[in-house]
Amino acid sequence: MMSAGTSNSLGKDAWLRLRANRMAVMSLFVLVGIFIVSLFGPALCSFSYEEQNLDKVFQSPDRVHLFGTDNLGRDLFARTAYGGRISLAVGLLATLVSLVIGVSYGMISGYAGGRIDSLMMRGVDVLYSLPFIIFVILLMVLFGRNFLLLFVAIGAVEWLTLARITRAQTLNLKNTEFIEAARALGFSNLRIIFRHILPNLLGPIIVYATLTVPAVMLLEAVLSFLGLGVQAPMSSWGSLIKEGAEKMDAAPWLLLFPGLFFCVTLFALNFLGDGLRDALDPKSSKNG
């Protein structure tokens, strides 16, 4: 048929295919750029994210303050870059957490089927309906203000939808012949789930995950409101955007710059996700 690559792992293979995707490569560069700005930006900037200058509040962008200043005269570039650390960490890690939980749960539920499935899904229904705010408050009471809790709280909400999607896909895959072949070969259920079903779910999961990241970043702002997560004067994109939105007529740059970083990251993630989905599918190289 077609010429075949001679690589030996899906990962390496996928990497080769990903490299061929121009949009994905560009997105990767953009993401790396944003990572670098977030990691080293605060150090390179002559202002710190918390340094106030009450004489220079609400300054529009100029040479000294590239992105302008906020209501306490703090440099917005420093705050945006610093906020990037938190938002990226929260956005990516929390999404990962919810991926791990949601995908495992959904796969097990879908694969087990029958009563177990319907019980597990009713469990998801229950969690969907529980009042999130009270749940988070209780979490904080029980475990204190632990930064890790942030991930637990976000994971606890976001995995539910993922579990549903995964379950539906698993139900479809369960009846394919290669899964039946695996059963005929005497593979254990766990092996079938993680080695044979999981890789075939990656496409939709990655796409959904890229849509989860923005939701998580904004959810972080809500959690800050409840006292979990980022504490002032630290910043995050979610909280910067929220504050900026309130002052957008008076000081539009307060919304513009964090919003821009946020949007660019999401676009890049989206294209990278699409690229990854294609790259992880060995078939995709067949049709241009």
Binding site: M1, M2, S3, A4, G5, T6, S7, N8, L10, A20, T176, E177, F178, E180, A181, A182, R183, A184, L185, G186, F187, S188, R191, R195, H196, P199, N200, L280, D281, P282, K283, S285, K286, N287, G288
Partner: protein, 559 residues
């Protein structure tokens, strides 16, 4: 000059790897009222040719690089899309291979059959429905009278293909393009569909371009046959001439490699036997029949009163009903029946992939009951299955090496990674592949190669018993021959026992020592292959035998 005239047609497919020429400068002519057969293996360019007539090819990636297709007085390739829409379905209609996916699952059958009339303003909606209903009855879909609101999924494959025919002919077109219309159907159904098609076309004076990979089938129907191979027309002549005196070695091979009912040889001729580099002479085809005597062999697998029930909306359905079979060690037990007769369910329930409702399954005379996991593993090791669709039965995300070495890891075969790799290579070589293929993914192989991989996977655990579930039904005749030969030679070298399930009596007879015939979940007849063929006891069995295209017999006669 005929009604349809294809001149110098070339079609290219663009892909990342480069340009692939699917059709290479072909000429083809269909005269008024003529039935032309277009034959070739998958990938030979026959379907592409057929689709390019109505410009149904997806462009890109396809591109018609040169040529002309003259229809009456216009060149179809130069027509605007709107004009093409007028021609499609009105002057030229088409039937597709897979009636399962070619009908819209969301619309009723009647609606879809009537649609061409509505689209081309040939009737009011009410009239169209009436005509469609009449047409469906004419092609044998009587149930449309009683349940006019049926959806495609409520129809069997045969019924759907009848509906497709009705839909194609309802506008009384001048030309019908039939792209492998019976390939996906049971043999018995196939025969019926062919006769309906033939009858209807004669009645309506429709010319037909009948595309198929099965030369025997084409012979039944066509006035003239065109054979394609790798994008080129290699031979065309009227049917009788072609069968009596094939010129091209490939055509000769095609005629020879279909298993037949009369011929019982140990090995089927393949295309390679006819076309091999440097040596264009056919190699020896026939070898004396060598059915080893069955007497004195032990029973390996046995079922006693095996019953499998499913619950559906109409209550419980018995897919397998009180089946008792004994499969002798080292032999092949054939299982034939129409689709829906329960043969697949039987095969899977023996492997415990489907839970049985009652009855017993014995291996080496010991019942397989609720077992401990260790025993289960052992049991899995000794029984394997090869599925019908090699596309669906391989995990698309695993390389061949991963697919083949994984069962060894699970069952603890092989001492080290390297050892397992060596074993995998040995297996690949055994099934006719080689170590180059280790790191490839399933989609990079052809159907025949994939089925070889499936065979290799079934062999990884060194089983004694393999269920072959319609494992060659979806294949071209020449590929089918290769796979069947492979299975035979493996049986010889490894002393395997097969349960060979197929709807094609010809194939089953070629493979099997004993045959069981299944109907509606029950085994209605069992006996040695010869006995079943020579002296069928049941009307049903006779019907199955009759359904094997006569042309095959004719072809054999000619050869």
């Amino acid at each position: 000059m005929g009604q349809l005239n294809i001149q110098n047609l070339s079609v290219n497919f663009h892909s990342r790897e480069g340009i692939f020429q699917a059709v290479n400068d072909i000429d083809l002519e269909i005269k008024e009222g003529e039935i032309v057969g277009l034959v070739g293996e998958s990938g030979s360019g026959k379907s592409v040719t057929c689709n390019s007539i109505l410009q149904l090819l997806p462009c890109p990636p396809a591109e018609i690089s040169q040529g002309a297709i003259h229809w009456t007085n216009k060149d179809l390739l130069k027509q605007k899309e709107q004009n093409m829409e007028r021609i499609r379905g009105q002057e030229i209609s088409m039937i597709f291979q897979d009636p399962m996916s070619s009908l819209n699952p969301y619309l009723t059958v009647l609606e879809q059959v009537a649609e061409p009339l509505i689209i081309h303003n040939l009737a009011t909606p009410e009239e169209a429905m009436q005509q469609a209903s009449d047409m469906l009855v004419e092609v044998g879909v009587d149930r449309i009278r009683t349940s006019p609101n049926s959806y495609p999924h409520e129809f069997s494959g045969g019924m759907r293909q009848r509906a497709m025919i009705a839909m194609a002919l309802i506008t009384k077109p001048a030309l019908l393009l039939a792209d492998e219309p019976t390939t996906a159907l049971d043999v018995t159904v196939q025969a019926k569909i062919l006769s309906i098609l033939k009858e209807a076309c004669k009645k309506l004076k429709v010319s037909v371009l009948f595309v198929s990979h099965d030369l025997g089938l084409v012979a039944e129907l066509a006035d003239r046959v065109v054979v394609m191979y790798r994008g080129k027309v290699i031979e065309q002549s009227d049917t009788n001439t072609l069968f009596r005196n094939p010129e091209h070695p490939y055509v000769k091979a095609l005629i020879a490699c279909r298993p037949t009912l009369e011929n019982s040889s140990n090995r089927l001729p393949t295309v390679d036997d006819f076309i091999s580099p440097g040596d264009s002479k056919p190699k020896a085809i026939k070898s004396p029949p060598s059915s080893a005597p069955l007497i004195g062999k032990k029973t390996l697998v046995e079922t006693k009163g095996l019953t499998v029930e499913f619950t559906s909306k109409d209550g419980k359905v018995r897919a397998v009903d009180d089946v008792s079979l004994a499969i002798l060690e080292g032999s092949t037990h054939g299982l034939v029946g129409e689709s829906g007769s329960g043969k697949t369910t039987l095969g899977r329930s023996i492997l415990q992939l489907i839970k049985k409702t009652s009855g017993q399954i014995l291996l080496h005379g010991l019942p397989i009951q609720e077992q401990s996991s260790l025993q289960k593993l052992h049991f899995r090791k000794s029984m394997q299955i090869i599925f019908q669709d090699p596309y669906a039965s391989l995990n698309p995300r695993l390389t061949i090496e991963q697919t083949l070495s994984e069962p060894m890891t699970v069952h603890g075969i092989g001492k080290s990674k390297q050892d397992r790799k060596d074993r995998v290579i040995a297996l690949l070589e055994e099934v006719g592949l080689n170590s180059e293929h280790l790191s490839r993914y399933p989609h990079q192989f052809s159907g025949g190669q994939r089925q070889r991989i499936c065979v290799a996977r079934a062999l990884t655990t060194e089983p004694k018993f393999i269920v072959c579930d319609e494992c060659v039904s979806a294949m071209d005749v020449s590929v089918q021959a290769q796979v069947l030969n492979l299975l035979k030679s493996l049986q010889e070298s490894r002393g395997l026992t097969y349960l060979f399930i197929s709807h094609d009596l010809g194939v089953v007879k070629f493979m099997s020592d004993e045959i069981s015939v299944m109907q509606k979940g029950k085994v209605v007849e069992t006996g040695t292959a010869e006995a079943i063929y020579r002296d069928p006891q049941m009307e049903y069995t006779r019907k199955l035998i009759d359904a094997v295209p006569r042309a095959n017999r004719k072809a054999e006669f000619y050869s």
